[in-house]
């Protein structure tokens, strides 16, 4: 197991280096520069600013400078969005709200999705099943910004239960954004669990469990549930991605001072170091999620317990 994780860590660093390289050059290909928008600057002033951030050096030198810094954990300093602030500090200060709504959304979505999928599978081809399928389709097809605006309109504006777009009331402020984020994992989990439960319920070992005299609920929870969870773990990765991309939009809508909101702005103003830093941060997050998913697999499914582990 330790050897396996070690190997995975090495791959992680290679992946990260590749992502950093790609993002770096993609950004440079794009038109615009962090200082281009500042029309008021005279060419001389611009040269001074560019020199300060190393933007005047040849591209390969900039690249190696950046990668060297990255290897030491230095993500550079913000060029225009946060005016000279350390990128690491910016990300750190912004992580809290994003992590909170992301975690709440993921938890809520997965839990409700699993519940919905289970009920749908156990009551296959009844109105319960059809309405759960409807919820899943709606959850997948309605973009989060539409759903978020609807939540704002009904629950914040009309009913005044929650603030519209204000990150000041602690948990209350996080409710609507979390629900908006939960829709994607909810729909995904519901679909996967339903399909898988139906398949598992038709399998031989469920018939054997019934032949042993197990009751309906024992079959659903003791025998079928764990087996139906296995494919859900596979989509945990994509679900985390969904939460991440969802947060870019949802944080904007609810004015949450999180990473997503800051990432979007940094792209608009061409703040190279912030874009790079946030991309790398997101990448690390996803790679770690994928690693956790692989380890979870082994815990839930004894057949794929990683070699070298104690069985």
């Amino acid at each position: 197991m330790a050897r396996y994780i070690g190997k995975r860590l090495i791959y992680m660093f290679i992946t990260l280096a590749l992502i950093a390289t790609f993002t770096f050059f993609l950004m440079k290909i794009l038109p615009g520069s962090p200082v281009a928008s500042a029309d008021k600057l005279s060419p001389e002033q611009r040269a001074v600013v560019e020199a300060r951030y190393g933007l005047d050096k040849p591209l390969p030198v900039q690249y190696f400078d950046y990668m060297f810094g990255l290897a030491q954990g230095d993500l550079g300093i913000s060029i225009n969005q946060f005016k000279g602030a350390n990128v690491t500090d910016v990300i750190q200060s912004r992580m809290g709200p994003s992590a909170q709504i992301g975690f709440q959304g993921m938890l809520l979505g997965t839990f409700l999705g699993v519940l919905l999928g289970m009920i749908a599978a156990l009551r296959q081809n009844t109105w319960v099943d059809y309405s759960s399928t409807l919820v899943a389709i709606v959850g997948i097809s309605i973009p989060s910004f539409v759903f978020a605006s609807m939540l704002q309109y009904f629950f914040a504006l009309k009913l005044e239960w929650f603030p519209v777009a204000l990150w000041k009331d602690g948990f209350m402020s996080s409710v609507l954004p979390s629900i908006a984020l939960a829709m994607f994992p909810l729909a995904t989990a519901a679909r996967f669990i339903r399909t898988e439960m139906i398949e598992v319920l038709g399998s031989d070992y469920i018939t054997l469990a019934r032949a042993k005299g197990a009751s309906g609920s024992e079959i659903a929870f003791k025998h079928a549930f764990r087996n139906a969870l296995i494919p859900l773990i596979t989509v945990l990765g994509p679900m985390a991605v969904g939460i991440l991309t969802g947060s870019l939009v949802v944080e904007q809508i609810f004015a949450i001072p999180g990473i997503g909101e800051q990432f979007v702005k940094s792209i608009m103003v061409n703040d190279f170091s912030i874009i790079m830093g946030t991309t790398i941060f997101f990448s690390v997050f996803l790679i770690v999620v994928i690693l956790i998913v692989d380890i979870l697999y082994g815990i839930i499914d004894p057949r794929i317990r990683l070699s070298g582990g104690k069985s």
Binding site: L208, A211, A214, G216, R226, P302, S311
Partner: protein
Amino acid sequence: MEKILQVKDLELSFNTFAGEVKAIRGVNFDLYKGETLAIVGESGSGKSVTTKSIMRLLPENSAEFKNGEILFGGRDLTKLSDKEMQKIRGKEIAMIFQDPMTSLNPTMPIGRQLTEPLLKHQKISKAEAKKVAIDLLRLVGMPKPELRMKQYPHQFSGGQRQRIVIAISLACNPQILIADEPTTALDVTIQAQILELMKDLQKKIDTSIIFITHDLGVVANVADRVAVMYGGKIVEIGTVDEIFYNPQHPYTWGLLSSMPSLDAADEKLYAIPGTPPDLLAPPKGDAFALRSEYAMQIDMEQNPPFFKVSDSHYAATWLLHPDAPRVEPPATVIERMKKFPGSRYYEGSRV
């Protein structure tokens, strides 16, 4: 002998989008205490459905009892609620399935799968159940049972898994054990081991077995009596000797002729022509008539009743009617009948 299970005029249909599939069309048989009754027939003949209907394991929303009863311990199983059936399943009637590779839960240690019926049906503690489970594993010939309790199904071979399934089925000393092609998915040497084990265990715990198979070699090995099913009905039933050495129904002839034998002179293996009947629209008369070279006019029009051959031997074919012409069975069947006292081709004690 004591009758432990009686199936009377059982009719069962599946309601499908294509219409009503009459999977069982009037099945009658008794199961005696301590015996092994083999049900043979080709795929789709209704043998599995018959036994699954005894266990009530068929999907409730599509399978429907049309007629008849299944009497067990003074109760009609077709009328019981699912709650009541749960108390019978695994305790009084247990079942073994065809494919041991898929009949165990892949994410549950086999120890827990073994103790589950014990904890469910008997008032014993977890520790006691564990002890019983270890004894069961030892009984089915599993080496180091204490260690293996914690392992998962994928850590066992196919034959071992079938042994575990058998151990699970025997956990509560059932009165009836239904084995649905328990050796079909295993290779031949393992098949023999599993059959030996089952015969052995039957002697030890005195249970009645319904053994479903399409392998006549297996039947000869394990069964006391044989019921031959075709098109949702039993067409011939008798002791294993009567079925093998004095068969009366043309379908049984066909089955026996298509069995490879070591001493058969002709090299070519016989195959019954045609395909089984479509049970969406079952034929009016004898279901086998269309594939039989012995079919008469009446076979196309009327369903043959059971004709008595001996006290234990009945066959549903018009050929046994007093007015029917005498026909010659296939040569291989005549060879068999020559060895059976009481058959019309008996040639004295040559066996």
